[in-house]
Symmetry: C2
Subunit: 365 residues, 2 copies
């Protein structure tokens, strides 16, 4: 099963169907900022680009790719004139394109830093896919570059804009399960083609943890609203398998939070799951799937037997809401709820997870 | 929620209803061995004793208790003559009672060793509740005592006789999910009364791990069919809470098995869960609840979307099947599938879990 097949289960029809009327922040000016999409892979072209249609404050105005055919195909499909199509060599000329407000970096992880820095230098705000970079040091450099340029930086943590996840966070904050005591979350898929960039350390920065396990980590952080203070980890990788010559397969990790909340997080390239359960003395909330492109499902046991639960509807799907959030932050001078600092926090924990697994000890943060 | 309320969810009517005709091992002699129940608490009197009714090779013939009223009440209820009722002081006289073949020890954990030794010395076979004892050393002593007496020793791992668990093991062994890569399992309940014996270390040997987390550990072992080679653990206990003066609340642990299979196991006294999911490259199997007295439910994703699954029916409920298994082993000269060695293996890992948490390092086994 490919990552796209797994995360995309049920992505077909109806993504935008049933979306309630869009609701703007009250003071947000009634205009759309222009996005350049940098990197025209599957996620950019099949998942993100179609979702500008539901955006209120965002529009697709430019494309950046190393593949001329892709620029032509998607340029024609989305009505992007040749003047707004860039190669990686010509990308820096985007500084002269006033239609572009934001560059959305959707490249392999190892290239996030350089393109973020180049975009900031060109005076553009930046949306960058997760993981933000392949090291905490790179994250810090990206934050500094955007700060120096006076531009905003947001990381593509789309689940923060997804209805079931929003509902889970709200229930927890409202005390529905009492204090969070235990989170169990697993993210993984069976990875295929051994030649893909995800399995090349220079491009990916790591294996399942960088790619899919980061969802377990990020969920544990947003569900508790806390930063972990201690990390354990255990890796299981068959290095004789051609897929895992350079990066890890399974790396499971445990987190301890200041309140006493705990998390057990799974990350795998040889198992298919996408779930979390958050438990406290008064009950639990479960999402399964939890962070997929579509099809989230929630059960909760809140003082009674477990029962399915429908979250409060959100005005926009997670992708459109994510795109618009950065636009709205720019238009109103606010900070994104998932800024570069958020990406850095994940990378700091990720580095601790790798260290804990390597050294066989609890790493304090 | 009390432990009994949680594990017993739905225990009410129908436990024996719909049970298929009992099916004996082909060579098992057609008679019933006599059990003495030692310790007349909730589990013994409400869960175990009523289940002799469905047994084929086991009958209740004697009672042992420190409380005269209980001996009278349950003696009358089950037609046990006064000659077959023992106090802890008179218990050793059971050596002279030929009606008693087996003593089933259902006391607080800290008393398992002494009563097992006394039963063996009286020439009786022993069924002992889990955890087998409060230390691996005690387990070894118990094994030695029964061996010396030429008597069998079995530990009350009832889930091994439960239909959904049997089905999960079979599916895994048949390769339905491919090699086991990841197990996620959580067992816990919100413990109440701070004065109960479970929260007194001398009687319990430890907190949630000894009481309920052992289900997570044992499941990880029977689902993989392997013994762990490395253990990580992380504890979270509010020692200022009157319930947790002596024993731990949450202790989560990670296991690594020789095949590369991994397990993340939760154990808690401040959260309610009872579940496991076993995942491999070809699919997953989930039980939720997994190890309750009643009401197990199974879902599986085996090359398709997740779907509920009904296991093959078992001839007897888990309690009657467990009782009969020891009788049948005695009658036919076989070793129980969950002998004293099985209990010892859990205790060795439990000691490693406590050590890993205390020392903040991976403990190799």
């Amino acid at each position: 099963m490919s990552k796209r097949a797994f995360l995309g289960a049920g992505v077909a029809a109806g993504l935008a169907a049933g979306v309630a009327p869009l609701k703007a922040w009250s003071q947000t000016p009634d205009r759309k900022l222009g996005y350049a999409i940098l990197g025209l892979g599957y996620y950019a072209t099949k998942i993100i680009m179609p979702r500008f249609a539901e955006c209120e404050h965002s529009k697709l105005v430019a494309l950046v790719s190393g593949t001329p055919e892709k620029l032509k195909t998607f340029g024609e499909q989305y009505g992007i004139p040749e003047s707004h199509r860039y190669s990686y060599e010509t990308f820096d000329r985007i500084v002269d394109n006033p239609d572009v407000d934001i560059v959305y970096v959707i490249t392999p992880n190892g290239l996030h830093r350089t393109f973020t820095e180049r975009a900031a230098k060109a005076g553009k705000h930046v949306m960058c896919e997760k993981p933000m970079a392949t090291s905490a040091a790179d994250c810090q450099a990206m934050i500094a570059a955007c700060k120096k340029a006076g531009r905003k930086l947001m990381i593509g943590y789309r689940s923060r804009f997804q209805a079931h996840n929003i509902e889970a966070i709200k229930l927890i904050r409202d005390g529905a399960i009492g204090p969070v005591r235990s989170i169990s979350t697993d993210h993984g898929f069976t990875i295929g083609d051994p030649t893909q960039w995800r399995l090349k350390k220079a491009l990916s920065g790591g294996g399942s943890l960088m790619d899919i396990g980061i969802y377990s980590l990020n969920a544990a952080r947003y569900l508790t609203g806390e930063e972990p203070v201690a990390v354990n980890a255990m890796e299981s990788t068959d290095r004789s398998n051609p897929r895992f010559k350079e990066v890890e397969d399974i790396i499971n990790f445990q987190l301890l939070f200041p309140s006493g909340a705990t998390a057990q997080c799974g990350s795998a390239y040889t198992a298919n799951f996408n779930r979390y359960r958050v438990s406290g003395p008064k009950g639990w909330i479960e999402l399964d799937p939890a962070t997929s492109y579509q099809g989230q499902s929630m059960r909760a046991a809140l003082g009674g037997p477990p029962a399915p639960r429908e979250p409060a509807p959100q005005a926009k799907n997670q992708f459109s809401a994510q795109l618009d959030h950065l636009s709205e932050c720019i238009l109103t001078g606010r900070e994104p709820i998932v800024s570069g600092e958020e990406g850095l926090k994940d990378l700091r924990v990720i580095e601790a997870i790798y260290r804990a697994a390597r050294e066989g000890r609890t790493v304090k943060l």
